[in-house]
Symmetry: C2
Subunit: 345 residues, 2 copies
DNA sequence: GTGAAAGCGCTAACAT
DNA sequence: ATGTTAGCGCTTTCAC
């Protein structure tokens, strides 16, 4: 295989005896080219399979038509769906996607931020690890707009699109209370992020509104053991372990609000092992509405998250920011998730 | 926020009264710079937050240190895991990742191929849609090496890494036969791809080896209704619909080999609705070993796929190809998947 | 050890 | 309608 050198404008120009500039204008659709020349150029470009070089273009134009996407873990179905929202939407508008995975590590995130700068992306959509954000300030200072997705970093004044998690957990809890639950516990990942904080707040508010007591002790932290293996998909395993204790104890709650559907799955198993079953022995609400949730036994009541839509909105926010400049006020958008009632409650 | 212009080599050079060239050499770690100058340059670079511009670099060096990843659907957990294998492995070697989603559409794939060329990636890892491949020939001809992942395009003489699906289905089927099954059916997506062809071949071979009859009629095609919505995650819905018929019919088979774990989930539901249950009424083997498989009720016997490892190998193959050039013989690697026996058989 | 000059592929400004 | 020139930010000769 002869490593044919990439075709350049110059190849077309010399072949046709015109200047590089004319070729550029013809291909760029500028009007100051005669029909005849344009046709010849188009034909030759087609013949030799010419494709413009983004890097050269980017250098001149100051835009690479690329957006960076920084996410924590593509194996989390929510983020996979987020990609599914972002990629086609961005592509439809002419943007390529540079993907970086942080795996909840600030160190990785710092590197990702620098990589964004190296690659001179037009802008970035970021699911921040949270905890340290100096590198994002630097990215912003370099004139690269950031849209935070799912998790916000309020101090930076960036655009944001995510879920109203407080509402989601509030509705879940209210639903459980309406179904007769009095003692409710919450299972959440052990991550210091705004999404979880929101859900916990929603839970407490719903309890308070119903005149029911609730305390920090009702919120159980599920270790996700990231140290085992960098970027495992979510596992029901830890929730199962915790669920066993929770189910075995003397003071089993009436219901559990799980931070995601995987945790709910672990609970199902813990229940089944003792011959128990949702919702009779323990009502369970999930979070995320994973494709399998409707097919669990019993089908899981859970909160549906418009992940795709969030991805699309993130792109829209970013492109709008690119048009409007950094001085326009940041837009914060929080979509309302919907409780899907099935048979586990 | 003042849209601070990006720092360039020149900014450092003028600030320090040296030439751009010297700065470049200092930062590039070349030795023809005095310790003193180097230190001053480093300090200033740090101070103004200098980050080199990949596009300029790529133009002169001929490499953007970027690899393209073309996949069909990140919501398929197998591909999500593939990303999890590729991204950190590539990043560790200094490569950025440009992601393109084709959603099983040849048209999208053609565009992705062109985009790869525009972006002048060093190479690409591709899960091909299969069916039309002229655009890949063009990419290859432009000197961009391709590694096919999971699905091969044998004619192109590219490197390949995937699964020995024939073996996976063979073992599944053999396992079912050993457990007493005589009439076995296969459920597969309605896609004309090599992975499915491999599994079907493995099934037939296992049946033949056991002296059992099997025909095309035993392979049921599950429509995935991609037209409904572009890039939905996999759904158990269709398999459930088909499963209902399969379970209701007079001649229910003894066992089913499902093409993926989602189909198995749909079957579970179809069974449960009639008060039936695996494995007693119908033995079921899944494919993929999704994180939830072990937590289904009963836990699903399924074939574990080393998706992460495939991603890492794909990167290795690509980098090796980048070193060795296009003339070295293509390497084809097929990993052996492992049957995980649980309670559904 | 350092600088000046050239050029990667492209587009924009300014001729003609 | 077309060509010439300049320059995007960087690295690589080649002088000194």
């Amino acid at each position: 295989m002869t490593d044919t050198r990439r075709a350049r404008l110059r190849d077309i120009a010399t072949a046709l005896g015109v200047s590089v500039n004319t070729v550029s204008r013809a291909l760029g659709g500028k009007d100051s080219v005669s029909e005849h020349t344009r046709e010849r150029i188009m034909a030759e470009a087609e013949r030799i399979g010419y494709v413009p070089n983004t890097h050269a273009r980017s250098l001149v134009l100051g835009s690479a038509m690329t957006i960076g996407l920084v996410i924590t873990n593509p194996s989390n179905p929510f983020y996979a769906q987020l990609i599914n929202g972002i990629e086609p939407h961005g592509r439809g508008r002419g943007y390529s996607l540079l993907l970086m995975v942080t795996d909840e590590s600030v160190e990785n995130e710092r590197r990702a931020a620098e990589s964004l700068l190296r690659s001179a992306v037009d802008g970035a959509i970021v699911v921040p690890v949270q905890g340290e954000t100096a590198h994002w300030t630097r990215v912003q200072a370099a004139g690269v707009p950031i849209v935070f997705a799912n998790r916000d970093v309020p101090d930076l004044g960036c655009d944001f699109v995510g879920i109203d998690n407080e509402h989601g957990a509030y509705e879940s809890t209210r639903h459980l209370i309406a179904a007769g639950a009095r003692r409710i516990q919450v299972l959440e990942e052990d991550l210091p992020i705004t999404t979880i904080a929101g859900r916990i707040a929603g839970f407490h508010r719903a309890m308070a509104d119903a005149g029911l007591p609730s305390s920090d002790a009702d919120v159980i932290s599920v270790p996700t053991r990231r140290h085992d293996s960098a970027i495992l998909p979510w596992q029901p395993a830890e929730a199962y372990r915790l669920g066993r204790e929770l189910v075995a104890g003397d003071d089993r709650p009436d219901a559990v609000v799980a931070g995601n559907d995987f945790f709910a799955l672990g609970l199902y198993r813990a229940l089944a092992e003792r011959g128990l079953r949702a919702p009779g022995d323990l009502a369970i609400v999930g979070y995320g509405d994973h494709p399998y949730a409707a097919y669990m036994d019993p089908p899981l009541t859970t909160v549906h998250l418009p992940a795709r839509r969030i991805g699309e909105i993130a792109v829209d926010l970013l492109l709008r920011r690119l048009r409007d400049g950094a001085d326009a006020a940041p837009r914060k958008q929080r979509l309302t998730p919907e409780l899907v009632v099935r048979a586990s409650t």
